[in-house]
């Protein structure tokens, strides 16, 4: 088992470097927001590294980038790199947030107000 043996310090920058292969940017792919929802397309490919596999597993149902970051205790930028890999592999799909230009549209605001009323 690759898990056995060494302990990982989640705050260790080396870990972040290794799991992202030293990448801090995701290139020109879809821009992933904090609240972009990620949903798995299938069971994780057995060849995936543990972090990738964990994301595919937990995104059985939609989860935001922020939630993935919270559950994995990984920085948002690291999660973004990992999710971009998974998008390339077609392991997950991304549901971008509702676009808000300068101001949100009326239908969106009405929906949110209606939802808040039910709180």
């Amino acid at each position: 088992m690759s898990k056995a043996g060494k302990t990982w310090d989640p705050g260790n920058p080396d870990r972040l470097y290794i799991i992202t292969s030293g990448r801090s940017r995701t290139g020109k792919q879809t821009r992933l927001d904090l609240v972009t929802l990620v949903v798995s397309r299938a069971a994780p490919d057995p060849g995936l590294q543990p972090e990738h596999s964990a994301i595919v597993q937990m995104c059985d149902y939609p989860l935001s980038i922020a939630e993935i970051s919270a559950y994995l205790t990984l920085p948002v930028s690291t999660v973004t790199v990992l999710v971009t890999d998974l998008l390339k592999e077609d392991q997950v799909e991304a549901r971008p947030p509702v676009p808000v230009a300068a101001l949100p549209n009326v239908q969106l605001l009405e929906a949110v107000m209606h939802g808040l009323q039910n709180l």
Binding site: A4, A54, P62, P75, S77, V98, V100, L109, Q117, L119
Partner: protein, 207 residues
Amino acid sequence: MDYKTSDPYAGPRKEDILPSSTAAAVKVVIVGGFGVGKTTLVGTVSEIRPLTTEETMTQAGVGVDDLAGIEHKIETTVAMDFGRISINEQLVLYLFGTPGQERFWFLWDGLFEGALGAVVLLDTRRLEVSYDVIGLLEERGVPFVVAVNTFPGSPVHPMTELRSAMDLPESVPMFTCDARDRASCRDTLMALMRYLYHLTNEISEPQ
């Protein structure tokens, strides 16, 4: 095994799962000074136990000029609490609370970008902090409302006094809220939505 639990990457609890039909999310940012009740507010209205996300941010060293050609950068990890409210089967609202040094949060790439708007929780003990925050929101064109969290025993300032101390235009809604009270927090978010609604209509229907 080195792990305390059998599954080191625990995902959401069953009750925290979003329906598969959830198509998109929107976000609102709660800003304000340290200890002013942002995390409380997020926790009060969130349907999930608030979670913590983090980001590594690189900031140019203070007082270093580019002419020297030396890359002097400071890397810091900052953490932020957030919560979630399901609006309907398709739409979910995320609330991000920004603790700590306020200026810092504007460096978090994509935090304010695409946000519906912001709630400024006013710190009546340190108005200058909120003053800074409001300035930055205005600069970035992020629409906001101002809420004064009522702590038991906190000094009571008349709203008009606070408004003029903050140099806040009449058009920006300002009201009191109790961050521990769900209905009050909901009303705070409602006030932001109504304000956004008003701004949107104002632009789409010119006089």
